[in-house]
Symmetry: C2
Protein backbone atom coordinates (compact mmCIF):
# COMPACT_ATOMS: atom_id res chain seq x y z
CA UNK A 1 0.00 0.00 0.00
CA UNK A 2 1.10 3.53 -0.79
CA UNK A 3 0.53 4.72 2.76
CA UNK A 4 2.48 1.83 4.24
CA UNK A 5 5.59 2.35 2.16
CA UNK A 6 5.72 6.09 2.69
CA UNK A 7 5.40 5.79 6.44
CA UNK A 8 7.93 3.02 6.92
CA UNK A 9 10.93 5.30 7.35
CA UNK A 10 9.69 7.30 10.30
CA UNK A 11 6.62 5.59 11.76
CA UNK A 12 8.70 3.20 13.88
CA UNK A 13 9.60 6.00 16.28
CA UNK A 14 5.97 6.75 17.05
CA UNK A 15 4.94 6.80 20.70
CA UNK A 16 1.74 8.82 20.56
CA UNK A 17 -1.19 9.54 18.26
CA UNK A 18 -3.36 12.64 18.07
CA UNK A 19 -6.76 12.03 16.51
CA UNK A 20 -9.09 14.62 15.11
CA UNK A 21 -12.62 13.57 15.97
CA UNK A 22 -15.28 14.89 13.56
CA UNK A 23 -14.67 13.38 10.13
CA UNK A 24 -12.17 10.83 11.52
CA UNK A 25 -14.09 9.01 14.26
CA UNK A 26 -17.58 9.95 13.12
CA UNK A 27 -19.58 12.14 10.76
CA UNK A 28 -21.51 14.75 12.74
CA UNK A 29 -25.06 15.81 12.09
CA UNK A 30 -28.24 17.08 13.65
CA UNK A 31 -29.14 13.50 14.56
CA UNK A 32 -25.96 13.10 16.63
CA UNK A 33 -23.89 11.59 13.84
CA UNK A 34 -22.71 8.15 12.72
CA UNK A 35 -19.37 6.37 13.34
CA UNK A 36 -17.07 6.04 10.35
CA UNK A 37 -16.67 2.35 9.48
CA UNK A 38 -13.83 0.72 11.45
CA UNK A 39 -13.12 3.73 13.69
CA UNK A 40 -14.60 2.33 16.92
CA UNK A 41 -12.40 -0.75 16.60
CA UNK A 42 -9.40 1.38 15.53
CA UNK A 43 -9.51 3.41 18.77
CA UNK A 44 -9.64 0.15 20.78
CA UNK A 45 -6.61 -1.18 18.90
CA UNK A 46 -4.59 2.00 19.58
CA UNK A 47 -5.32 1.73 23.30
CA UNK A 48 -4.40 -1.98 23.35
CA UNK A 49 -1.12 -1.24 21.55
CA UNK A 50 0.28 0.84 24.41
CA UNK A 51 0.61 3.98 22.22
CA UNK A 52 -0.36 7.21 23.94
CA UNK A 53 -3.55 8.72 22.58
CA UNK A 54 -5.07 12.18 22.59
CA UNK A 55 -8.31 13.35 20.95
CA UNK A 56 -7.59 16.77 19.50
CA UNK A 57 -10.78 18.52 18.43
CA UNK A 58 -11.94 22.00 17.49
CA UNK A 59 -15.44 21.09 18.60
CA UNK A 60 -17.10 24.06 20.27
CA UNK A 61 -20.78 23.21 20.03
CA UNK A 62 -20.84 21.33 23.33
CA UNK A 63 -18.93 20.95 26.58
CA UNK A 64 -16.33 18.18 26.61
CA UNK A 65 -18.66 16.22 28.91
CA UNK A 66 -21.52 16.29 26.40
CA UNK A 67 -19.20 15.69 23.48
CA UNK A 68 -17.63 12.62 25.11
CA UNK A 69 -21.04 11.29 26.12
CA UNK A 70 -22.16 11.47 22.49
CA UNK A 71 -19.06 9.59 21.31
CA UNK A 72 -19.44 6.95 24.01
CA UNK A 73 -23.03 6.54 22.80
CA UNK A 74 -21.63 5.80 19.34
CA UNK A 75 -19.43 3.07 20.87
CA UNK A 76 -16.10 4.88 21.29
CA UNK A 77 -13.76 4.22 24.22
CA UNK A 78 -13.08 7.86 25.16
CA UNK A 79 -13.05 9.93 28.36
CA UNK A 80 -13.08 13.68 29.07
CA UNK A 81 -9.50 13.56 30.35
CA UNK A 82 -8.29 12.39 26.92
CA UNK A 83 -9.75 15.38 25.01
CA UNK A 84 -7.91 18.57 24.04
CA UNK A 85 -10.47 21.22 23.03
CA UNK A 86 -10.43 24.98 22.42
CA UNK A 87 -12.71 26.17 25.23
CA UNK A 88 -10.52 25.00 28.14
CA UNK A 89 -7.49 26.42 26.31
CA UNK A 90 -9.29 29.75 25.96
CA UNK A 91 -10.18 29.71 29.66
CA UNK A 92 -6.50 29.37 30.56
CA UNK A 93 -5.67 32.42 28.42
CA UNK A 94 -8.56 34.46 29.83
CA UNK A 95 -7.41 33.75 33.39
CA UNK A 96 -3.73 34.45 32.67
CA UNK A 97 -4.48 37.82 31.11
CA UNK A 98 -7.42 38.83 33.36
CA UNK A 99 -9.71 39.01 30.35
CA UNK A 100 -13.47 39.12 30.88
CA UNK A 101 -15.14 37.71 27.77
CA UNK A 102 -18.34 38.50 25.98
CA UNK A 103 -19.24 35.05 24.61
CA UNK A 104 -20.50 34.58 21.05
CA UNK A 105 -20.67 30.79 21.29
CA UNK A 106 -23.08 27.88 21.15
CA UNK A 107 -25.45 27.75 24.14
CA UNK A 108 -24.20 24.26 24.95
CA UNK A 109 -20.60 25.50 25.27
CA UNK A 110 -21.37 28.18 27.87
CA UNK A 111 -20.86 25.85 30.91
CA UNK A 112 -17.14 25.54 29.95
CA UNK A 113 -16.82 29.23 30.92
CA UNK A 114 -18.70 28.87 34.23
CA UNK A 115 -15.73 29.92 36.34
CA UNK A 116 -14.79 32.92 34.21
CA UNK A 117 -15.80 36.46 35.18
CA UNK A 118 -17.93 37.80 32.35
CA UNK A 119 -18.99 41.15 33.82
CA UNK A 120 -18.05 44.35 31.97
CA UNK A 121 -16.36 42.51 29.06
CA UNK A 122 -12.93 43.55 27.79
CA UNK A 123 -12.70 40.93 25.02
CA UNK A 124 -14.91 38.85 22.72
CA UNK A 125 -14.67 35.06 22.42
CA UNK A 126 -16.20 33.63 19.25
CA UNK A 127 -16.84 29.92 18.74
CA UNK A 128 -19.01 27.97 16.36
CA UNK A 129 -22.17 29.61 17.66
CA UNK A 130 -24.36 28.05 14.92
CA UNK A 131 -27.94 29.31 15.43
CA UNK A 132 -26.56 31.97 17.77
CA UNK A 133 -24.90 33.64 14.75
CA UNK A 134 -27.82 36.03 14.39
CA UNK A 135 -27.65 39.55 12.94
CA UNK A 136 -28.37 40.98 16.39
CA UNK A 137 -25.71 38.88 18.16
CA UNK A 138 -23.06 39.70 15.54
CA UNK A 139 -23.82 43.42 15.84
CA UNK A 140 -23.61 43.18 19.62
CA UNK A 141 -20.20 41.47 19.55
CA UNK A 142 -19.00 44.00 16.95
CA UNK A 143 -20.14 47.01 19.02
CA UNK A 144 -18.37 45.72 22.11
CA UNK A 145 -15.15 45.17 20.15
CA UNK A 146 -15.15 48.50 18.31
CA UNK A 147 -15.85 50.25 21.61
CA UNK A 148 -12.71 48.82 23.26
CA UNK A 149 -9.58 50.93 23.40
CA UNK A 150 -7.61 47.89 22.16
CA UNK A 151 -10.05 45.29 20.81
CA UNK A 152 -9.22 41.67 21.76
CA UNK A 153 -10.90 38.96 19.72
CA UNK A 154 -10.27 35.32 20.66
CA UNK A 155 -11.51 32.73 18.17
CA UNK A 156 -12.04 29.06 19.04
CA UNK A 157 -10.67 27.85 15.70
CA UNK A 158 -10.52 29.27 12.19
CA UNK A 159 -12.27 26.56 10.18
CA UNK A 160 -13.92 27.73 6.97
CA UNK A 161 -16.82 25.27 6.93
CA UNK A 162 -17.83 21.80 7.98
CA UNK A 163 -20.21 19.15 6.79
CA UNK A 164 -23.25 17.99 8.68
CA UNK A 165 -25.67 15.34 7.55
CA UNK A 166 -27.95 18.11 6.19
CA UNK A 167 -25.20 19.91 4.28
CA UNK A 168 -22.22 22.27 4.57
CA UNK A 169 -22.25 24.97 7.26
CA UNK A 170 -20.13 28.09 7.67
CA UNK A 171 -17.64 27.53 10.49
CA UNK A 172 -16.34 29.94 13.11
CA UNK A 173 -13.52 31.16 10.84
CA UNK A 174 -15.95 32.92 8.52
CA UNK A 175 -17.53 34.89 11.37
CA UNK A 176 -14.09 35.57 12.84
CA UNK A 177 -13.11 37.15 9.50
CA UNK A 178 -16.25 39.30 9.48
CA UNK A 179 -15.42 40.71 12.93
CA UNK A 180 -11.72 41.09 12.09
CA UNK A 181 -12.54 43.14 9.01
CA UNK A 182 -15.18 45.30 10.68
CA UNK A 183 -12.93 46.15 13.63
CA UNK A 184 -9.60 46.10 11.79
CA UNK A 185 -8.16 43.62 14.31
CA UNK A 186 -6.46 40.24 14.09
CA UNK A 187 -8.09 37.47 16.10
CA UNK A 188 -6.04 35.26 18.38
CA UNK A 189 -6.89 31.72 17.33
CA UNK A 190 -7.17 29.07 20.03
CA UNK A 191 -7.61 25.51 18.77
CA UNK A 192 -6.14 23.92 15.65
CA UNK A 193 -4.04 25.03 13.76
CA UNK A 194 -2.57 27.15 16.60
CA UNK A 195 0.87 25.90 17.59
CA UNK A 196 0.16 26.33 21.30
CA UNK A 197 -2.88 24.08 21.00
CA UNK A 198 -0.91 21.16 19.54
CA UNK A 199 1.88 21.77 22.03
CA UNK A 200 -0.46 21.47 24.99
CA UNK A 201 -1.88 18.22 23.56
CA UNK A 202 1.69 16.88 23.26
CA UNK A 203 2.52 18.02 26.80
CA UNK A 204 -0.59 16.25 28.11
CA UNK A 205 0.62 13.03 26.42
CA UNK A 206 4.24 13.53 27.49
CA UNK A 207 5.43 12.82 23.95
CA UNK A 208 7.76 15.05 21.87
CA UNK A 209 6.53 16.11 18.42
CA UNK A 210 9.06 13.89 16.60
CA UNK A 211 7.42 10.83 18.16
CA UNK A 212 3.81 11.87 17.52
CA UNK A 213 1.51 11.50 14.53
CA UNK A 214 -1.58 13.60 13.91
CA UNK A 215 -4.44 11.97 11.99
CA UNK A 216 -7.08 14.30 10.59
CA UNK A 217 -9.40 15.10 7.69
CA UNK A 218 -8.59 18.84 7.49
CA UNK A 219 -5.59 19.55 5.27
CA UNK A 220 -4.89 22.99 6.79
CA UNK A 221 -6.02 22.81 10.41
CA UNK A 222 -5.03 19.21 11.19
CA UNK A 223 -2.23 18.33 8.79
CA UNK A 224 -0.62 21.73 8.25
CA UNK A 225 -0.94 22.74 11.91
CA UNK A 226 0.61 19.54 13.24
CA UNK A 227 3.47 19.62 10.73
CA UNK A 228 4.36 23.17 11.75
CA UNK A 229 4.84 21.79 15.28
CA UNK A 230 7.31 19.17 14.07
CA UNK A 231 4.86 16.27 13.97
CA UNK A 232 4.13 13.89 11.12
CA UNK A 233 0.55 14.08 9.91
CA UNK A 234 -1.73 11.78 7.92
CA UNK A 235 -4.83 12.88 6.05
CA UNK A 236 -7.76 10.45 6.02
CA UNK A 237 -10.00 10.33 2.97
CA UNK A 238 -13.14 10.68 5.12
CA UNK A 239 -15.08 13.62 6.60
CA UNK A 240 -14.41 16.92 4.86
CA UNK A 241 -11.57 15.46 2.73
CA UNK A 242 -11.95 16.43 -0.92
CA UNK A 243 -9.81 15.06 -3.79
CA UNK A 244 -8.60 18.58 -4.58
CA UNK A 245 -6.92 18.63 -1.13
CA UNK A 246 -4.23 16.43 -2.70
CA UNK A 247 -3.18 19.41 -4.84
CA UNK A 248 -3.04 21.83 -1.93
CA UNK A 249 -0.53 24.60 -2.77
CA UNK A 250 1.11 24.71 0.66
CA UNK A 251 0.37 21.56 2.69
CA UNK A 252 1.37 17.99 1.87
CA UNK A 253 0.53 15.22 4.36
CA UNK A 254 3.26 12.72 5.23
CA UNK A 255 0.87 10.08 3.90
CA UNK A 256 -2.74 9.56 2.84
CA UNK A 257 -4.92 6.81 4.26
CA UNK A 258 -8.44 5.82 3.30
CA UNK A 259 -9.67 6.10 6.88
CA UNK A 260 -8.61 5.78 10.52
CA UNK A 261 -8.79 1.98 10.42
CA UNK A 262 -6.22 1.87 7.61
CA UNK A 263 -3.99 4.39 9.42
CA UNK A 264 -3.96 2.21 12.53
CA UNK A 265 -3.28 -0.92 10.46
CA UNK A 266 -0.23 0.67 8.88
CA UNK A 267 1.13 2.30 12.04
CA UNK A 268 0.77 -0.78 14.24
CA UNK A 269 2.45 -2.90 11.57
CA UNK A 270 5.61 -0.74 11.91
CA UNK A 271 5.96 -1.11 15.67
CA UNK B 1 -10.48 78.94 7.13
CA UNK B 2 -8.14 76.02 6.68
CA UNK B 3 -10.35 74.34 4.07
CA UNK B 4 -10.64 77.50 2.00
CA UNK B 5 -6.91 78.11 1.70
CA UNK B 6 -6.10 74.52 0.86
CA UNK B 7 -8.70 74.33 -1.85
CA UNK B 8 -7.94 77.65 -3.50
CA UNK B 9 -5.34 76.28 -5.89
CA UNK B 10 -7.53 73.76 -7.66
CA UNK B 11 -11.17 74.34 -6.74
CA UNK B 12 -11.62 77.05 -9.42
CA UNK B 13 -11.63 74.38 -12.12
CA UNK B 14 -14.55 72.54 -10.57
CA UNK B 15 -17.54 71.82 -12.82
CA UNK B 16 -19.24 69.00 -10.94
CA UNK B 17 -19.80 67.70 -7.42
CA UNK B 18 -20.40 64.14 -6.27
CA UNK B 19 -22.11 63.90 -2.90
CA UNK B 20 -22.23 60.89 -0.64
CA UNK B 21 -25.67 60.78 0.96
CA UNK B 22 -25.80 59.02 4.34
CA UNK B 23 -23.68 60.98 6.82
CA UNK B 24 -23.41 63.96 4.44
CA UNK B 25 -27.02 64.87 3.65
CA UNK B 26 -28.64 63.10 6.59
CA UNK B 27 -28.05 60.67 9.45
CA UNK B 28 -29.93 57.45 8.80
CA UNK B 29 -31.86 55.49 11.39
CA UNK B 30 -34.80 53.19 11.97
CA UNK B 31 -37.06 56.24 12.16
CA UNK B 32 -36.04 57.34 8.64
CA UNK B 33 -33.28 59.64 9.75
CA UNK B 34 -32.71 63.37 10.22
CA UNK B 35 -31.14 65.96 7.86
CA UNK B 36 -27.69 67.26 8.82
CA UNK B 37 -27.93 70.97 9.63
CA UNK B 38 -27.47 73.13 6.52
CA UNK B 39 -27.47 70.25 4.02
CA UNK B 40 -30.93 70.83 2.53
CA UNK B 41 -29.99 74.43 1.76
CA UNK B 42 -26.51 73.38 0.54
CA UNK B 43 -28.02 71.08 -2.12
CA UNK B 44 -30.24 73.95 -3.29
CA UNK B 45 -27.26 76.26 -3.53
CA UNK B 46 -25.28 73.75 -5.61
CA UNK B 47 -28.17 73.45 -8.05
CA UNK B 48 -28.59 77.22 -8.26
CA UNK B 49 -24.83 77.64 -8.94
CA UNK B 50 -24.95 75.77 -12.24
CA UNK B 51 -22.47 73.11 -11.05
CA UNK B 52 -23.31 69.58 -12.14
CA UNK B 53 -24.40 67.37 -9.28
CA UNK B 54 -24.54 63.63 -8.70
CA UNK B 55 -25.59 61.75 -5.58
CA UNK B 56 -23.21 58.83 -5.22
CA UNK B 57 -24.40 56.35 -2.61
CA UNK B 58 -23.68 52.80 -1.50
CA UNK B 59 -27.21 52.54 -0.13
CA UNK B 60 -28.59 49.05 -0.74
CA UNK B 61 -31.41 48.83 1.78
CA UNK B 62 -33.99 50.28 -0.58
CA UNK B 63 -34.67 50.87 -4.27
CA UNK B 64 -33.57 54.24 -5.60
CA UNK B 65 -37.25 55.21 -5.78
CA UNK B 66 -37.83 54.59 -2.06
CA UNK B 67 -34.50 56.12 -1.13
CA UNK B 68 -35.22 59.32 -3.07
CA UNK B 69 -38.74 59.51 -1.64
CA UNK B 70 -37.31 59.39 1.87
CA UNK B 71 -34.83 62.18 1.09
CA UNK B 72 -37.51 64.31 -0.53
CA UNK B 73 -39.53 63.82 2.65
CA UNK B 74 -36.60 65.27 4.59
CA UNK B 75 -36.70 68.34 2.32
CA UNK B 76 -33.97 67.53 -0.23
CA UNK B 77 -34.22 68.54 -3.89
CA UNK B 78 -33.26 65.17 -5.41
CA UNK B 79 -34.59 62.88 -8.14
CA UNK B 80 -33.96 59.23 -9.07
CA UNK B 81 -32.15 60.27 -12.25
CA UNK B 82 -29.49 62.05 -10.16
CA UNK B 83 -28.56 58.99 -8.08
CA UNK B 84 -25.69 56.57 -8.77
CA UNK B 85 -26.20 53.41 -6.67
CA UNK B 86 -24.71 49.89 -6.60
CA UNK B 87 -27.77 47.81 -7.51
CA UNK B 88 -28.25 49.24 -11.03
CA UNK B 89 -24.48 48.95 -11.59
CA UNK B 90 -24.66 45.30 -10.54
CA UNK B 91 -27.58 44.70 -12.90
CA UNK B 92 -25.50 46.00 -15.83
CA UNK B 93 -22.71 43.55 -14.95
CA UNK B 94 -25.13 40.64 -14.51
CA UNK B 95 -26.66 41.30 -17.94
CA UNK B 96 -23.31 41.78 -19.69
CA UNK B 97 -21.93 38.50 -18.35
CA UNK B 98 -25.16 36.47 -18.43
CA UNK B 99 -24.98 35.92 -14.69
CA UNK B 100 -28.05 34.68 -12.83
CA UNK B 101 -27.79 35.84 -9.22
CA UNK B 102 -28.84 34.36 -5.95
CA UNK B 103 -29.67 37.51 -3.97
CA UNK B 104 -28.57 37.96 -0.36
CA UNK B 105 -29.90 41.50 -0.05
CA UNK B 106 -32.44 43.58 1.82
CA UNK B 107 -36.06 42.74 0.92
CA UNK B 108 -36.62 46.35 -0.12
CA UNK B 109 -33.81 46.16 -2.69
CA UNK B 110 -35.19 43.13 -4.54
CA UNK B 111 -37.33 45.18 -7.00
CA UNK B 112 -34.09 46.65 -8.48
CA UNK B 113 -33.40 43.12 -9.81
CA UNK B 114 -36.90 42.60 -11.23
CA UNK B 115 -35.68 42.24 -14.81
CA UNK B 116 -32.83 39.86 -14.02
CA UNK B 117 -33.16 36.10 -14.53
CA UNK B 118 -32.61 34.52 -11.12
CA UNK B 119 -33.32 30.87 -11.97
CA UNK B 120 -30.59 28.28 -11.44
CA UNK B 121 -28.10 30.80 -9.97
CA UNK B 122 -24.49 30.94 -11.17
CA UNK B 123 -23.40 33.76 -8.86
CA UNK B 124 -24.23 35.32 -5.51
CA UNK B 125 -24.95 39.04 -5.04
CA UNK B 126 -24.55 40.27 -1.47
CA UNK B 127 -25.78 43.68 -0.30
CA UNK B 128 -26.49 45.15 3.10
CA UNK B 129 -29.14 42.54 3.84
CA UNK B 130 -29.56 43.67 7.48
CA UNK B 131 -32.14 41.40 9.14
CA UNK B 132 -31.79 39.02 6.18
CA UNK B 133 -28.24 38.22 7.36
CA UNK B 134 -29.49 35.13 9.20
CA UNK B 135 -27.47 31.99 9.88
CA UNK B 136 -29.69 30.06 7.46
CA UNK B 137 -29.41 32.66 4.67
CA UNK B 138 -25.63 32.89 5.03
CA UNK B 139 -25.29 29.11 4.89
CA UNK B 140 -27.51 29.02 1.80
CA UNK B 141 -25.44 31.62 -0.05
CA UNK B 142 -22.25 29.83 1.01
CA UNK B 143 -23.48 26.42 -0.22
CA UNK B 144 -24.43 27.86 -3.60
CA UNK B 145 -21.02 29.51 -3.98
CA UNK B 146 -18.93 26.52 -2.86
CA UNK B 147 -20.95 24.32 -5.22
CA UNK B 148 -20.05 26.42 -8.28
CA UNK B 149 -17.23 25.31 -10.51
CA UNK B 150 -15.92 28.87 -10.44
CA UNK B 151 -17.63 30.79 -7.63
CA UNK B 152 -18.63 34.37 -8.51
CA UNK B 153 -19.41 36.68 -5.60
CA UNK B 154 -20.56 40.23 -6.35
CA UNK B 155 -20.68 42.59 -3.39
CA UNK B 156 -22.66 45.86 -3.38
CA UNK B 157 -19.96 47.72 -1.47
CA UNK B 158 -17.32 46.77 1.06
CA UNK B 159 -18.17 49.05 4.00
CA UNK B 160 -17.09 47.77 7.42
CA UNK B 161 -19.91 49.31 9.45
CA UNK B 162 -22.29 52.22 9.59
CA UNK B 163 -24.08 54.21 12.23
CA UNK B 164 -27.79 54.27 12.73
CA UNK B 165 -29.65 56.20 15.38
CA UNK B 166 -29.71 53.05 17.55
CA UNK B 167 -26.01 52.27 17.18
CA UNK B 168 -23.31 50.85 14.90
CA UNK B 169 -24.20 47.99 12.53
CA UNK B 170 -22.00 45.60 10.59
CA UNK B 171 -22.02 46.56 6.92
CA UNK B 172 -21.96 44.36 3.81
CA UNK B 173 -18.15 44.24 3.77
CA UNK B 174 -18.04 42.10 6.90
CA UNK B 175 -20.37 39.50 5.40
CA UNK B 176 -18.52 39.67 2.09
CA UNK B 177 -15.31 38.80 3.97
CA UNK B 178 -17.01 35.84 5.68
CA UNK B 179 -18.09 34.40 2.32
CA UNK B 180 -14.74 35.19 0.68
CA UNK B 181 -12.89 33.31 3.39
CA UNK B 182 -15.24 30.32 3.49
CA UNK B 183 -15.13 29.85 -0.30
CA UNK B 184 -11.56 31.06 -0.89
CA UNK B 185 -12.75 33.56 -3.50
CA UNK B 186 -12.33 37.28 -4.02
CA UNK B 187 -15.56 39.27 -4.31
CA UNK B 188 -16.07 41.73 -7.14
CA UNK B 189 -17.06 44.96 -5.45
CA UNK B 190 -19.66 47.16 -7.12
CA UNK B 191 -20.25 50.56 -5.52
CA UNK B 192 -17.73 52.81 -3.82
CA UNK B 193 -14.71 52.57 -3.73
CA UNK B 194 -14.74 50.69 -7.08
CA UNK B 195 -13.18 52.78 -9.82
CA UNK B 196 -15.84 51.80 -12.34
CA UNK B 197 -18.54 53.10 -10.03
CA UNK B 198 -17.04 56.59 -9.77
CA UNK B 199 -16.33 56.57 -13.50
CA UNK B 200 -19.95 55.89 -14.36
CA UNK B 201 -21.05 58.70 -12.03
CA UNK B 202 -18.62 61.05 -13.84
CA UNK B 203 -19.84 59.86 -17.23
CA UNK B 204 -23.44 60.51 -16.19
CA UNK B 205 -22.44 64.09 -15.27
CA UNK B 206 -20.29 64.56 -18.37
CA UNK B 207 -17.43 65.91 -16.27
CA UNK B 208 -13.81 64.67 -16.29
CA UNK B 209 -12.30 63.65 -12.92
CA UNK B 210 -9.97 66.67 -12.83
CA UNK B 211 -13.01 68.96 -12.74
CA UNK B 212 -14.97 67.01 -10.14
CA UNK B 213 -14.96 67.00 -6.35
CA UNK B 214 -16.27 64.16 -4.18
CA UNK B 215 -17.66 65.07 -0.77
CA UNK B 216 -18.10 62.24 1.72
CA UNK B 217 -17.80 61.11 5.32
CA UNK B 218 -16.01 57.81 4.62
CA UNK B 219 -12.24 58.21 4.44
CA UNK B 220 -11.67 54.99 2.48
CA UNK B 221 -14.76 54.46 0.35
CA UNK B 222 -15.54 58.10 -0.51
CA UNK B 223 -12.25 59.98 -0.26
CA UNK B 224 -9.76 57.26 -1.17
CA UNK B 225 -11.93 55.82 -3.92
CA UNK B 226 -12.52 59.19 -5.60
CA UNK B 227 -8.87 60.19 -5.38
CA UNK B 228 -7.82 56.96 -7.09
CA UNK B 229 -10.02 58.06 -10.00
CA UNK B 230 -8.20 61.38 -10.29
CA UNK B 231 -10.79 63.47 -8.44
CA UNK B 232 -10.26 65.80 -5.53
CA UNK B 233 -12.10 64.72 -2.40
CA UNK B 234 -13.23 66.45 0.79
CA UNK B 235 -14.07 64.70 4.04
CA UNK B 236 -16.90 66.16 6.10
CA UNK B 237 -16.73 65.94 9.88
CA UNK B 238 -20.27 64.51 10.07
CA UNK B 239 -21.74 61.00 9.80
CA UNK B 240 -19.24 58.23 10.41
CA UNK B 241 -16.28 60.64 10.49
CA UNK B 242 -14.03 59.98 13.50
CA UNK B 243 -11.11 62.20 14.60
CA UNK B 244 -8.70 59.26 14.10
CA UNK B 245 -9.58 59.35 10.36
CA UNK B 246 -7.26 62.38 10.17
CA UNK B 247 -4.32 60.05 10.93
CA UNK B 248 -5.29 57.49 8.30
CA UNK B 249 -2.14 55.68 7.13
CA UNK B 250 -3.00 55.70 3.42
CA UNK B 251 -5.69 58.28 2.61
CA UNK B 252 -5.47 62.05 3.01
CA UNK B 253 -8.41 64.18 1.85
CA UNK B 254 -7.64 67.26 -0.25
CA UNK B 255 -9.35 69.22 2.52
CA UNK B 256 -11.52 68.79 5.60
CA UNK B 257 -14.77 70.64 6.10
CA UNK B 258 -17.07 70.68 9.12
CA UNK B 259 -20.09 69.70 7.04
CA UNK B 260 -21.61 69.92 3.57
CA UNK B 261 -22.78 73.50 4.13
CA UNK B 262 -19.21 74.63 4.76
CA UNK B 263 -17.93 72.68 1.75
CA UNK B 264 -20.44 74.45 -0.49
CA UNK B 265 -19.57 77.84 1.03
CA UNK B 266 -15.90 77.37 0.25
CA UNK B 267 -16.37 75.89 -3.22
CA UNK B 268 -18.86 78.49 -4.42
CA UNK B 269 -16.61 81.28 -3.15
CA UNK B 270 -13.86 80.08 -5.54
CA UNK B 271 -16.01 80.18 -8.66
Amino acid sequence: REGGREMAAWARAVRGLLLDVSGVLYDSGGDGGVPIAGSVEAVRRIKASGLKLRFCTNETQATREEFVKKLQGLGFDISVAEVTAPAPAACRILKERSLRPHLLVHNDLVPEFAEIDKTNPNCVVVGDAAENFTYANLNEAFRLLIGMEKPVLISLGKGRYYKETDGLKLDVGAYMKALEYACDVQAEVVGKPAKMFFESALAEMGVPPQQAIMIGDDIVNDVGGAQRCGMRALQVRTGKYRPCDENHPRVKPDAYVDNLAQAVDVILRQL
